[in-house]
């Protein structure tokens, strides 16, 4: 029994090792003065300096953040409306149809989303660049926001709304003073999820960026195709630290949301592509 346990532990440790090896590998070599991803020659911060001196890269990082924040804010707002729409739907069949339509973009492969949005934008006449990227990020983040918000809405007791109405609250009051505060944790979770999806997205963005405009993942892809450059390593170390901050932040939001709940926060955390 104890023996079996040990075997299991070894397996788990092995999985963790493999899972983290590439990330640690990248971080380790970001300090290599040798300029390659093998043979560590000496410690240097040169590549970090390069990252901070690279104005093009910094603009791209800002682009990525602007797109992520803007698109997740917009997607969350539309997501709230969507969750309300689905929640209010009385007819079961219409409701299920709405839900399946909502989930189409979640199960659809990124390549198809990217290609079809490319067709859409060219047909409508939207120039590829900032707006096309923003629109597509809003578009694929909406269903995620809906899915994070809807369960909270369904947990809400209908008598809460009835009581507010009986006490003379207008529809608007019910929405802003009863419903929205109640589903706040879901809204935060949706926003966060949309944020990480947007920060992480490559495939969709790749199709709709056009030339001249770029986000971080598209830039990393084009640099990686040119070969190894340690400034990417330095950049990825910085991104890793930022990601850890995000995850910890998200974890605490979920924990707060589930404080009196039964589910564990980590199991609830969605996984971006």
């Amino acid at each position: 029994m104890a023996n079996k346990n040990r075997f299991g532990n070894i397996y788990l440790v092995l999985v963790f090792l493999v899972l983290y090896a590439p990330i640690l590998y990248l971080m380790y070599y970001s300090f290599n003065s040798g300029g390659t991803m093998h043979q560590f020659e000496g410690f240097t911060l040169q590549y970090y300096k390069e990252v901070f001196a690279d104005t093009r890269l910094i603009i791209i990082v800002i682009n990525t953040l602007v797109i992520a924040l803007l698109s997740s804010a917009l997607a969350t707002i539309i997501g709230i409306m969507g969750a309300l729409a689905i929640h209010q739907m009385q007819n079961r069949r219409v409701r299920n149809t709405l839900l399946s339509l909502n989930n189409v973009l979640i199960v659809n492969p990124d390549v198809i989303i990217g290609a079809s949005f490319l067709i859409l934008f060219t047909m409508v006449g939207i120039k590829l660049g900032f707006y096309s990227v923003l629109l597509s990020h809003v578009a694929f983040s909406v269903p995620i926001a809906v899915i994070m918000i809807l369960p909270r809405l369904q947990e809400m007791s209908p008598s809460l709304v009835d009581a507010a109405r009986d006490l003379g609250a207008s529809r608007m009051d019910v929405l802003t003073k009863v419903i929205l505060p109640f589903i706040k944790p879901g809204i935060y979770a949706g926003f966060f999820m949309a944020l990480t999806y947007s920060l992480d997205d490559f495939a969709v963005t790749f199709f709709v960026t056009g030339s001249g405009y770029s986000t971080l993942s598209v830039e990393i892809y084009s640099r990686a195709r040119q070969g190894v450059s340690l400034s990417i390593n330095a950049l990825s170390t910085l991104i890793f630290l930022f990601t850890v901050l995000l995850v910890v932040g998200y974890y605490f939001i979920m924990r707060k949301a589930n404080r009196n709940g039964k589910k564990e926060p980590a199991a609830e955390m969605g996984v971006p592509r």
């Binding site: 590439p22 339509l101 290609a115 079809s116 859409l120």
Partner: protein, 270 residues
Amino acid sequence: MSGNTRAAYLLPYYLWIVLFVAAPVVLVFYYSLFDVDGHFTFSNYAQFLTPVYLSMTLSSFWYALLITVCSLLVAYPAAYLLTRTKHKQLWLLLIILPTWINLLLKTYAFIGIFGTYGPVNAVLSLVGLGGQQLLFTSSSFVFVSVYIFVPFMILPIYNALEGLNPSLLDAARDLGASKWTAFRRVIFPLTLSGVRSGCMAVFIPALSLFMITRLIAGNRVITLGTAIEQHFLVTQDWGMGSTVAVFLILAMAIIMLITSGTKRRVRHGK
């Protein structure tokens, strides 16, 4: 507010459904009926049914299947062992954390790891196997893909295992089932929904991968995703690209129908 304004504030959502859910799919179908010069034709479909495209589709499915099976084989024991650990929350968080890191960066790391002078080759020569060409092979492609997808498989299986009623297991043991029998007859069948949603979360993206094929497999593996990207962004043959996309959509719809009835929250592993 009257009924009209009530509907009005939901308008952005419905607009989103029409513009970004329905219209793109319709447009893909529409474009698949035109050739490079913009003439209406069925030739794209005829071309898709030639051996070149069919064998590509077949190999795409084969790799996706291989990746899914490998991920499952790695993920199930890991998920099972995770539910047995003391600080489950922490370990689970540690499994999830790498998935939040940009996929491109992780793939990029493997360029170094599998490189000619990378650590894997160093170990291989130490053992006496000598240097191997690891990068730009189909096996490294499968390995990296499995690496990327494993957490997505672990999560739903973990959730299914956690949702299991422990008294069922006690009952099986009381009734004299061995550990293995209890697993085979009780645990595994009851966590099948988790396995299914995990497989969905891996299989569909695996069908449409394209940057891993480019960066790691060096165009040695061509998936449906690579073909679509190639047609849309390189050869500019949107019609043919759309046709491949149509078949991918159809394949997905069929997969969904087969596995329907299970609760699916693909990326949330619920």
